[in-house]
C-alpha cells in the first residue's frame, strides 16, 4: 500500500489532480467565450455526493488559490449543513480563507440563490446546478437537445412557457435567453434573483457535476428572462410582507411556519444580508428594474 503519510498533504492541492484542474479551466474559458453554451467536461468524482454541489465544487477548486476568500451559501444560508461541509472541505484542501461576508469573498459558491448584496468585478459567483438543460422539460434526450441548441430551435420551449401560463398563470421560473443566442437554465435560483444575472459586474460560472456540463455568463452580458409581449416575467411577490426581525420588505423573504403549523411569518432569506441590516451596516443591494419598481410601490 502507498504510504500517504510521507507526503505533506494527504491529497493533491485543492483535491483534484493538476491535469484535470487544467482541463476544467480550459473548459471554463470556452464557456466564457460562448455565453450560455453548455460545455461537456470530465467531472471527476468528489468526496461530496453527486447532486450536492460537485459541479460548482470542481469550478471553485479549479480557480481558487491560497490568496482567495471563499464563501458558500445554501439557500441563502452560510450555516446550512451542506454549505458547512463544502466550506470546510475547500478550506482544508485549497488552504484559502473563508468568510460569511458577501462583500469580502472573492469566490462565492451558491445553491438556489444570488446574494442580495450586489457583486463586483472582483468577484466570481459559482452556481450549483442540478439540471443544466433548460430544454429537458420538453425533450428528454441530450442528443436532441444539443441539436436544438445548435439550431436555435426553441419553439417547444415557448409552447411549454405558454402551457405554464395557462395552467398556473405564472411564467416566472426561468429559463433565460443569454446574449440573444442560447436559452440557459439559471440553475433553480429564485425569480427574485434572475434579473441580477443581466449585465452583472461579476463573472457567473455554472457547474453541473452529475450531468458533466459547465457554462458561464461573463460580466456585462445580456440575460433576459423568457416572457411574452403581453405576459411579462416578474420577480417574487410577498404581498407586502416584511421580515419579522428587520422589517425589511425589499429582499427575498422566506415564509417560516410557527410551531402551530398554521400561522407563519417572513424572514430575509439571505442570512448575511440580514445580519448586516441588523448591524446597521446595510450593504448596497442589486439594482434592476423590478427592484426599482418594487421599491416605488412600497414607498407609495
Amino acid at each position: 500500500m502507498i504510504e500517504l503519510k510521507k507526503f505533506r498533504r494527504q491529497y493533491n492541492y485543492a483535491f483534484i489532480d493538476e491535469d484535470t484542474k487544467k482541463e476544467i479551466r480550459r473548459k471554463l474559458l470556452k464557456a466564457i467565450c460562448i455565453p450560455g453554451y453548455q460545455v461537456p467536461y470530465s467531472s471527476p468524482e468528489m468526496p461530496v455526493s453527486r447532486g450536492w454541489g460537485t459541479g460548482a465544487l470542481h469550478i471553485s477548486l479549479a480557480i481558487i488559490g491560497k490568496g482567495d476568500t471563499y464563501k458558500v451559501i445554501d439557500q441563502g444560508d452560510d450555516a446550512s449543513v451542506n454549505a458547512c461541509n463544502i466550506r470546510s472541505f475547500v478550506e482544508k484542501t485549497a488552504e484559502c480563507k473563508t468568510t460569511f461576508d458577501t462583500g469580502k469573498a472573492s469566490v462565492i459558491q451558491t445553491r438556489h440563490r444570488v446574494p442580495e448584496e450586489e457583486l463586483t468585478e472582483d468577484q466570481i459567483i459559482v452556481f450549483q446546478v442540478p439540471d443544466p438543460e433548460p430544454l429537458r422539460q420538453v425533450e428528454p434526450y441530450t442528443k436532441i437537445t444539443r441539436q436544438m441548441h445548435a439550431e436555435g430551435d426553441y419553439a417547444k420551449m415557448w409552447v411549454a412557457l405558454y402551457e405554464s401560463y395557462v395552467q398556473t398563470g405564472d411564467i416566472s421560473k426561468g429559463p433565460v435567453l443569454v446574449n440573444d443566442r442560447y436559452i440557459m437554465s439559471p440553475s433553480p435560483i429564485q425569480a427574485w434573483d434572475i434579473p441580477n444575472l443581466n449585465n452583472s459586474r461579476c463573472l457567473n460560472l455554472f457547474g453541473a457535476g452529475r450531468e458533466k456540463r459547465i457554462y458561464a455568463v461573463p460580466p456585462y452580458t445580456k440575460v433576459e428572462p423568457l416572457e411574452f409581449e403581453d405576459v411579462k416575467f416578474n420577480i417574487n411577490d410577498f404581498n407586502g410582507a416584511a421580515c419579522k426581525r428587520s422589517g425589511e420588505k425589499v429582499a427575498f423573504l422566506e415564509e417560516i411556519f410557527n410551531e402551530d403549523g398554521k400561522t407563519s411569518y417572513h424572514m430575509v432569506n439571505d442570512t448575511n444580508y440580514l445580519d448586516k441590516i441588523m448591524d446597521n451596516n446595510r450593504p448596497k443591494q442589486w439594482n434592476n428594474k423590478y427592484l426599482v419598481k418594487k421599491r416605488k410601490e412600497l414607498n407609495n
Binding site: 491535469d19 439557500q75 441530450t142 398563470g169 458533466k212
Partner: protein
Amino acid sequence: MGYVAVRGGVEAIANAAHLVEFYRLRDNTPPIEIKQLKAQFRLAIDKIMGEGGLYAPEYGAIALKQNEGDVFEAAFVMRAYRATLSRKFYSETIDTENMFVKRRISASFKDIPGGQILGATRDYSQRMLNIELAEENETVVREFLEKFNIDIDLKEIKKYGRITGILRHLGFLKPFAKEEDTSLVDVTRDAVKFPAPRSGRLQMLARAETGGIMAIGYSSIRGLGGVHPTIGELRVGLVKIYVKDRTGRKRYLGKVEVTEAETINNELEVGQNGKNVPYMSIGYGLCFGHNETKAISMGILDRAMRDPEGRGVAHDQEYVLYHTDGVESMGFVNHLKLPHYAGFSAGLSTMRKAVKRKEEEDQKLNPSLAEV
C-alpha cells in the same frame, strides 16, 4: 446566528460524523483487519473496485470498512480518491486469450476446446443459511485448509482460445449490421456525448452499478427488450497489464482479475435476393474482479444499445447509461434531503396565487357559486 429553527452548522456536522463512527464501534468488538476483509469479502471488494473504477483491493477493503459494509458508499469513496490521481498512462490492449483462467464456461457448446472449467462458483449449490458459520473459529479454518490441501502444477495451466473463435471460423459471426462509431474515448476525462461510441458505452457499463445494469438487462431478456442472448463464453481470471513508457518500452505493471462475457445473439440480415440471411453477433462485457452478473448484463446491454431502434429501455443509450452509474444516481436521489426552503416557500406563494386565480375565474363564470 441561529434564528432559523431548522439549521445545521459546523458543530452539528462534526457531531454527526462522531456519532456515525460511534455506531461502527460502540459494541467494542475487535476491529476487522483489512487483510481479513480482503480475504473474506472478496466479492464485495470486487464490486467496489469495478464501480469505483480503481483496481486496488487494499483500498477497496478500507472503503468497505469505513462505510460499515455499504458497497455504494464504498465505491463512491474509491471514485473520489481516484479523482486525486493523475492519469499518466493508458495500458496496452489486454488480450484475454492470455488470461490465467480460474473459471471458464460456455452455455452454447457442451464440449469446448480446452474443456469447461467450473472453478469457484455458488451456482450449483443450495442457498441454505449456514448456521455453522456462527461457530467458525481458527481451528475450523485450519482443519478445512489441511483437508483441502490442493497441489496445483502451474506448468499444467494453459491458455484457452476463444469459443467465439469457433463461430468466427464457421463464418456465422459478423458484426451487428448497424454501423458503429469505433473511436476510442475516455469517459473519465470527457463527458460522453450521445449517440456514444461503443468504447464509451462499455466503459460506462464497466463502472455502472451491478444491480442497475442487471435490472435493465433483465428487462430485455424477460421480454421488454429485443435481446435475449446465449452465453458463448464466460471467463474469470488474471490478466497482465502493460504500459508503454516514454521511450516506447513495454513495462509490466502487474495482474488484475477480470470477468469477461461474450454473449451470442441470433440476427437476421436481408440478403440481396430479399430473403433473410441469419447470422450471429456478439455482446461484450468486461469488468474488474469476479462479478459474473455484471459482465453478463453488460453483454446484453452492449448488444441492445447497438440497435437504438429496438423496443424497450435496454436499447436506449441515454436511459441505460445516465441512470445506472451508482455514484451519480445515489448522490442525486439523496440530494432530496438537502434543504429546498427558498424554492418551496416561493412555490407556496405561486400556488396560493393560482388557487386564488381559479376561484376568481369560477366566480366570474358562475357568480351564484359564491353565495353557496
